[in-house]
């Protein structure tokens, strides 16, 4: 692991004992070394400030360790700096020679991540820093209740937030209990994780739980646990915003709210409709990004696709996603679905107590642009190593713990380690409990990782294929189609809307002939005739249409085209019957017809029917009817022109007749 290698290199010129090594590597991880091995100077600065040394000594430390020369804190510089801090804290001059001294571990106040002395078998450290540590860990010590609250707080805090916010509560708790440190660590975790660069939902929940073990040593073992957690889950805390009930359960298989939210977003990215199904191929592409081996993915699919339909509903998707997250976090895949992931889980979170799975390493869907899992995974072994001693110590605490949660947490954390390291003899009971429980539920520690993972996935997955059109799904219910339409797939809509008869614009000739047939009627009536015809049709459609009034004009117009084709006589007669019931509709149309008369030019202001945006069917019909209306407008204009021309023709005929009669009268005169 980077840290370890760094420690090794650092140890080349300074000798670090085992505890120091662990501690330093923990702090190193805390300071968020980036890929190049440089530590974030801000974090380092914070760490230094936490050491409560005067600024000038801090500057001296920086200078001596070589960071100033280099301009950044490399691993070795960091370790040297830590050593110097320890030296300074114990009163030794800050010089390179001090590094070689057998120094106690440096103390950092309010440091979330205090890798502390879990391993604390450094008696010198303890002795020397007993009092000091008391103060430092004091802040870290949390009562179980605090722990939970902190956890919540942590969850709520922004993950990127540096240590400061979490620190504040830390300072309050009394040191004496020296029980839980988890919270500070969790907080550290929040800040730490640049490496992880993703939100892991399972953050530190497991870590927090670890923290909760009361460390036998004064310095809570949790820090070690948390440290790994920190390294892993940055934003995890954020995820820990679950309700207290969640914490009590600490079931890794339970999906937290944040996770649920994340899953929902991911689901929506694949399938906008939450009620629809994700096709198998789509899900396959999506989950393949998790870089899990195919057999595991296949197994996850088998577990999650409970209805065996080859597609994932939303709950199935969440289950699968959660299993993937858990798997990435290191949880072995269960053989059967855990109860909390059963299809009914979405509705009610079962309180399945216990948990055991401590937060495993955060799951990270490898994002090429992000820090790969390797960092996390690399840190895991080290974390595990750290956890082991802590677990051992915490185990005792665990027994002392009266609160169930603590036990659970310990169990989970320990269990996790057993699962992962496979060598945890310590908790005979919890691991055993956990193992069977694993199948059912595990601590939600992984949640933090999932959040990170999810974040990473989010980054990866924006390029996922666009939501598949639901229409291709064989199981798409009509409801889905409706939703599809609501989502405004105009293309689909237009295609789908074809069912309503879309008559081509009728040639005006037919209309004209229709009009001629009823020439005695006024133009208005003529104009209305198609309306009548439309009315008849409209009435029929009215019954079927969702919004008859709104669609009336449209449907009418739409129908008018139909009317053209149909024998108008029948329509008219029928229309006459239909007129009374459709008077309100007709009235809408009448203004239009009047407009037609008054405004010979084609500008026929058909009042657009009030379109109710709510319903899809009317909208779709409206669209079609708009197109139809345009045709109808032209038709109306043409009919009007036609009628006018007809009138003129009549007039001309009359004139002709009169002229002819006059001619005849005049002929005898002319002849004579």
């Amino acid at each position: 692991m980077d840290q370890e290698s760094g420690a090794a290199s650092a140890g080349s010129f300074i000798s670090l004992n085992e505890h120091e090594q662990r501690y330093y590597s923990g702090l190193h991880g805390l300071c968020q070394a980036d890929t190049s091995g440089k530590l974030s100077s801000s974090k380092v600065a914070e760490l230094f400030k936490a050491s409560q040394l005067p600024p000038e000594s801090l500057h001296k430390v920086t200078e001596v360790c070589g960071a100033k020369r280099l301009g950044y804190f490399g691993t070795s510089q960091f370790y040297v700096a830590l050593k110097l801090l320890a030296a300074a804290q114990s009163g030794l001059p800050i010089r390179l020679e001090s590094v070689t001294a057998n120094l106690p571990l440096p103390r950092f106040v309010g440091l979330k991540n205090e890798p502390e002395m879990r391993y604390s078998t450094v008696p010198s450290c303890i002795d020397a820093q007993g009092a000091q540590c008391g103060s430092a860990p004091g802040s870290l010590i949390w009562t179980p209740a605090d722990r939970n609250t902190f956890r919540h707080l942590e969850a709520s805090t922004d993950k990127k937030e540096p240590w400061s916010p979490p620190r504040s509560p830390c300072s309050s708790p009394p040191r004496s209990p020296l029980t839980y440190r988890s919270y500070p660590y969790a907080k550290q975790r929040n800040g730490v994780d640049p490496q992880i660069a993703y939100e892991s939902k399972h953050s530190s929940r497991p870590i927090v739980q670890l923290e909760q073990h009361s460390s036998p040593s004064k310095y809570g073992t949790k820090p070690t646990v948390e440290h790994p957690a920190m390294a892993q889950a940055s934003s995890v805390e954020r995820l820990e915003q679950q309700g207290v009930s969640d914490y009590t359960e600490d079931d890794p298989w339970r999906i937290t709210e944040e996770q649920l939210e994340y899953y929902t977003n991911q689901f929506k990215s694949l399938q906008p409709d939450l009620g629809a199904l994700i096709l198998g191929a789509v899900a396959k592409n999506f989950f393949t990004k998790s870089k899990l081996p195919i057999p595991e993915l296949s197994h996850i699919w088998e577990l999650s696709d409970v209805d065996r339909d080859g597609a994932l509903t939303f709950s199935e998707f969440c289950t699968a996603f959660h299993l993937i997250v858990a798997r990435k976090n290191g949880y072995p895949l269960p053989e059967t679905l855990p109860p909390s992931l059963r299809p009914g889980f979405m509705q009610h979170e079962e309180d399945i107590p216990d948990t055991h799975e401590s937060a495993g390493p955060l799951i990270v869907f490898e994002d090429p642009g992000r820090r790969p899992n390797q960092m996390v995974k690399q840190s895991d072994p080290s974390i595990m190593q750290r956890l082991q001693p802590s677990l051992i110590s915490t185990k005792q605490d665990l027994k002392e713990e009266s609160s169930k949660q603590d036990v659970k947490m310990l169990a989970t954390s320990q269990d996790k380690e057993t699962l992962q390291l496979g060598a945890f003899p310590e908790r005979p009971e919890p691991p055993q409990d956990l193992d069977p429980q694993m199948k059912t539920k595990t601590r939600p520690r992984s949640y933090s990782s999932t959040s990170i993972e999810d974040a990473m996935k989010k980054a990866e997955e924006p390029p996922t294929p666009p939501p598949r059109p639901q229409k291709t799904h064989s199981r798409a219910s009509s409801l889905d189609l409706n939703k599809l339409f609501q989502q405004g797939a105009p293309g689909v809509k237009s295609g789908w809307l074809l069912p309503p008869p879309a008559l081509p614009p009728r040639p005006t000739a037919s209309q004209v002939s229709h009009f001629i047939g009823t020439s005695e009627k006024t133009v208005q009536s003529k104009v209305q005739q198609p309306n009548f015809a439309d009315f008849s049709h409209f009435r029929e459609e009215e019954e079927s249409s969702v919004k008859p009034e709104d669609q009336g004009p449209h449907s009418r117009f739409g129908l008018s085209t139909e009317d053209m084709t149909n024998p108008s006589q029948q329509d008219m007669t029928a229309a006459s019957h239909n007129q009374p019931p459709q008077k309100p509709v007709r009235r809408k149309y009448l203004p239009e017809s009047q407009n037609l008369e008054t405004v010979p030019p084609p500008a026929v202001p058909f009042p657009p029917p009030a379109k109710t945006p709510q319903k899809l069917l009317p909208r779709q019909k409206r669209e079609i009817q708009q197109a139809i209306r345009k045709n109808r407008e032209t038709n109306a204009v043409l009919t009007r022109l036609n009628s006018e021309l007809q009138q003129q023709l009549k007039v001309v005929h009359k004139e002709r007749v009169t002229l002819e009669s006059q001619l005849e009268l005049l002929r005898p005169l002319a002849s004579t």
Partner: protein, 133 residues
């Protein structure tokens, strides 16, 4: 044993001592299955029975065959000493196999033609084999 295009997708046998012989038997039974398939063109979903009875005088075991609509062949070799197995039981076994096979196929991560690695499938097959054994 499950075959697809005449190469095995899945092979499982309980008594492992004669496994090779079972393999051989199954492979030879494929020929008989093919023959039956070609004979009865459209009855692909037919639960064909490949009742061999006594193949060798020294050992007797029954080989049952079953073909799905996608030309996936299932072969079950049953020791004849276990004569309690009736035809209906064999048919139900095939049905279960077919169901679990379709479940495996539904898995998008499973490519047709890959060996079946589904644990659920394994579980079902094991359950059946335990029953017959």
């Amino acid at each position: 044993m499950c075959f697809w295009q005449n190469y095995p997708l899945y092979i499982r046998s309980v008594p492992t001592q004669n496994e090779l012989k079972f393999h051989y038997t199954v492979h030879t039974s494929l020929d008989v299955v093919e023959e039956k398939i070609s004979a009865v063109g459209k009855a692909l979903g037919d639960q064909r029975e490949l009742y061999l009875g006594l193949l060798y005088p020294t050992e007797d075991y029954k080989v049952y065959g079953y073909v799905t609509n996608s030309k996936v062949k299932f072969v079950i070799v049953v020791d004849s000493s276990n004569t309690s197995l009736r035809d209906n039981e064999i048919r139900s076994m095939f049905r279960k196999l077919h169901n679990s096979f379709t479940d495996v196929m539904c898995n998008p991560f499973h490519n047709p033609g890959d060996t079946i690695q589904s644990k659920a499938f394994d579980g079902i097959v094991s359950g059946m084999m335990v029953q017959t054994a």
